[in-house]
Amino acid sequence: MELREKAKQLLESGEVKAVIGYEPGTQGARRPAFASSAARTGRLGFEGEQNLASYVTRKEVKRLGRVAVAARPPVLRALLQLMAERQIKEQEVLPLVLDADGQVQELATAQAMEEHLALSPQQIPARDRELMDRLGGMTRQERWDFWQGELSRCIKCYACRNSCPMCYCEHCTMDCNRPQWVPVPSHALGNLEYHMVRAMHLAGRCVECGDCGRACPVGIPIHLLTFNAEESVHAQFGQRAGASSKLDYALSTFRPDDKETFIR
């Protein structure tokens, strides 16, 4: 069954109040689309890049009731991570995925989502991998210069924060001015500190969808910072955000035998 048919059926039966997917936008781009009635499902599709999970924590979406979401693997991971962080409940979302035969499948439970995810390995895109490896091979000074060059273009629009499905805090550290942790203007120090804070706050929570990098209007590869934090969590603590709806936050748990090499 196709997504449009499925959406129509779900909306007509009242099983969900809205279906979130993608539709054609301007200039050949794909944009997120909300269908709240069967009549509006005609343009829905699976192809699109934005992480739709960032909508399900919004108040205006929660108010609707249960929503179905066209879910590529990063969206599924984000939904599971949101469940692990108790931001959404299993019964509040209905992820729709394509199975191996190209049929739309409903994943009504977290377990079904986890099983579906287990089918395809999690990999960061080759282009990002390559850049990360290149950065890893640089000297510290070269890395500093690279990031200073990139971050000097940051205009602090917070598009990276707003596009992130995991940045749902109502009071973000960036908006607090008592104390003012990070300078507000897009200043060299403030830019560095902002991206440092963002990566640290997403360590162990980043589902590696890369939406922050895509949202950046000046094209800074900022998603690499959260990827780095996420990869060091995976390498050192053996867990990945979005793998399960019952994941403990890596930085609020510990093991007495955590191994590090630098504390004297």
Partner: protein, 145 residues
Amino acid sequence: MTEPFEPKITAFVCNWCTYAGADLTGTSRIKYQSNVRVLRLPCTGRIDFMLLAKAFARGADGIIISGCHPNDCHYTSGNYHARRRWMIYRNLMDFMGIDTARITFSWVSAAEGAKWAELVNEVTTGIRAMGPYTEYKQLANAGVE
């Protein structure tokens, strides 16, 4: 004539072990270099990663983070949480090009007065050899006339 470079070292220490340990260094009359500014916090778990960034921005050339040995935390697990945080933060800083060689993590207990003196001396000598951390400090003044 220019004065020889004297590094500024900021030490974030926990109240229960390292601060008491540093106290013991003093009461034992062990001499050590005076470049260190000690900031006492309740626990290493309280040391927000941003405090390190702030120290560098305010002119620190080196940073010492020290607290209770694993299993000795006054609050049972603060240092375990801190350890996890540093394991991630250190990698991230390195990835962003911040000089992690200027940050020293250590466990110093209340009985290790001699270890504290040794640690401070070692770090101070190391940072003196590295020179001032102007790279980061410059950011704070960038664009300010």
